[in-house]
């Protein structure tokens, strides 16, 4: 690489710096949620600080923060019931490949006050925008939005999707924390945490971190036993069931 080109890149990098004057330093209270037999869901705290260096211009607007947590992606099928004669049946369905089963969007104030609808769509902010729908191929048309809204309503009902308008608290103008509820029904796997910083509707910085939900102890052994040696697991279950049946007939025998 010639010296001129290298100089050009150095200059470009220097000039680009002011636009990224704020940096986010974030962490989560735990990088692993362990599922044991008394597990009934857990809470993770996302916390961090907005770091400004000397060159940072003074902002007229206060900082806004949006934290998006996406659970492991799955193929989801959404069905719609329609009337056929006197009965209601599932007539149409849509597939949503690689859709997170768990999704929460926390912010320090309502999303529509933080940024505009168009920007939210572009930057994947909010429950409806967090998952891009373009990869579903030929399925994509006007009714896809209806199905996607149905999906969001269904999973919100189950506590797997949530929008927390006051979920992020600023402890000082630059220090923040946000509790993230992980319900017991949330799937195991990696969870991706994305933190986006705004001021006056302008995106300033983005940072991400992650945590995972895993089974431990007896829960993990049973689940892996069921998957790794299914025949043995099945036979063991049957043996146990028949043993219980036999035991009951002995215990309750009266003749």
């Amino acid at each position: 690489m010639s010296r001129v080109v290298r100089l050009f890149f150095t200059c470009a990098a220097l000039f680009a710096l002011p636009a990224e004057a704020e940096t986010l330093i974030v962490s989560v209270s735990s990088h692993q949620i362990q599922i044991s037999s008394n597990y009934t869901g857990d809470q993770i705290t996302v916390f961090g600080v907005v770091e400004r260096d000397g060159r940072t211009v003074a902002r007229a607007d206060p900082y806004d923060l949006v934290i998006t947590v996406r659970g492991p992606p799955r193929m989801l099928i959404v069905r719609e019931k329609e009337r056929l004669g006197p009965i209601w049946i599932n007539r149409t369905q849509r597939r949503f490949p690689d859709n997170p089963v768990y999704l929460t969007v926390s912010s320090n104030r309502p999303l529509d006050e933080i940024l505009g609808a168009e920007a939210a769509r572009r930057e994947r902010i909010g429950l409806a925008n967090a998952q891009r729908l373009e990869n579903s191929g030929l399925d994509l048309d006007a009714s896809t939005t209806r199905f996607h809204n149905g999906l969001i309503r269904n999973l919100s009902e189950k506590g797997l999707y949530a929008e927390e308008e006051r979920g992020v608290t600023f402890l000082s103008p630059t220090l923040f924390s946000a509790p993230i509820e992980v319900p017991a029904t949330a799937p195991t796997g990696p969870y991706e945490v994305e933190i986006a910083l705004y001021a006056g509707g302008v995106a300033l910085a983005r940072e991400s971190t992650s945590f995972e939900v895993v089974k431990t102890g007896i829960e993990q052994r049973l689940a892996s036993g069921a998957h790794d040696s299914p025949l043995l697991y099945g036979l063991a279950t049957v043996a146990l069931a028949l043993f219980f049946g036999w035991l009951a007939s002995v215990v309750f025998r009266r003749d």
């Binding site: 069905r79 199905f147 999906l151 189950k158 049957v238």
Partner: protein, 309 residues
């Protein structure tokens, strides 16, 4: 007290599951039916994934029918020969049922097939039984004898078909063609709906073949024991959906409940017995019919593929 289910992947109240399985076990012991047709929808209602519910209930039903089989075996009210014929036919029917199940799933209409079959089957069988039970109850009140046993020398035409076989225990001498046909039908329905089929087998053996109810219950339990043992292993091997923790909870509640049910059955007269079973089956059928006819408040539903859980 909550316990986390490793395969269903959600926590559940221990007392709630024990109570439910105890109640269903009581009904199962009372009527000699597996109880799967009640327990499976109940578990699905508690948010347990359908595949896990069906597979785990199979294990529970195997366990509680084991108790029943042993009890009836000791009392010598179990017709092993008839049971063997029923099992053989049942296996054939199960294979057809699984093939049908998979082709319907490919067509995306499985849910409709299941709901429609539940509605038609349960309301028809329940309605017929209710009618019959009420009619005989009225006859008893009018002072006329209830004709439950065959009159010597007479038999319906289907019992006179070729290949007649003698079943001593059941006091039956009949062609095995209608018996095998019945077993195939029940295996088919069982595989499609994920139920043992005892609730069809018991009334069918009583009404069509006039077999003494005491023998019918033991023999039906034997057939259920064999098919549900096979079903549990098959479910575990093919889709790893048997939840051992849930199975243990269901077993504890189920076997205890079945004991009390079995005891209550002996203090119950035949008329009330049939009336109760009829009402129970009819209620389940109507429950599904409501779902079919009432406009849903939320037309959309989300299906998590089982492998994804």
């Amino acid at each position: 007290m909550q316990i986390y289910l490793p395969i269903a992947e959600l926590p559940i109240s221990v007392l709630l599951v024990l109570g439910l399985s105890g109640a269903v076990g009581f009904i199962s012991g009372l009527f000699g039916v597996g109880g799967g047709f009640l327990l499976t929808p109940l578990l699905i209602f508690l948010d347990i994934p359908p595949a896990v519910a069906v597979a785990t209930v199979a294990a529970q039903v195997a366990g509680s029918s084991m108790t029943g089989v042993l009890t009836y075996w000791r009392r010598r009210t179990l017709d092993l020969k008839l049971g063997g014929v029923l099992v053989a036919g049942g296996i054939l029917g199960t294979i057809f049922g699984v093939l049908f199940f998979n082709s319907m799933r490919r067509l995306g209409q499985l849910e409709l097939v299941i709901t429609l079959s539940y509605v038609t089957l349960f309301t028809t069988i329940g309605g017929l039984m209710l009618y019959d039970a009420l009619r005989s109850a009225l006859r008893v009140r009018a002072g006329r004898a209830v004709r439950l046993r065959r009159i010597a020398g007479t038999h319906p035409w289907w019992m006179g078909l070729p290949w007649r076989m003698r079943f001593h225990q059941s006091q039956l001498y009949a062609s095995i063609i209608p018996i095998v046909a019945l077993a195939v039908t029940i295996g088919f329905i069982g595989a499609v709906l994920g139920v043992g089929g005892g609730f069809i087998l018991v009334p069918a053996l009583i009404y069509f073949f006039r077999i003494p109810p005491a023998v019918v219950v033991g023999t039906s339990l034997f057939q259920i024991l064999v098919t549900m043992t096979g079903a549990t292993v098959l479910h575990a091997v093919t889709n790893q959906s048997v939840d051992l923790v849930l199975a243990v909870l269901l077993l504890v509640g189920g076997v205890v409940g079945a004991q009390f049910g079995g005891r209550a059955a002996r203090n119950l007269d035949v008329g009330a017995f049939r009336l109760l079973l009829a009402l129970l089956i009819l209620a389940v059928g109507l429950r599904f019919a409501i779902e079919l006819f009432i406009a849903p408040t939320e037309p959309f539903s989300v299906v998590l593929p089982e492998s994804a859980r």
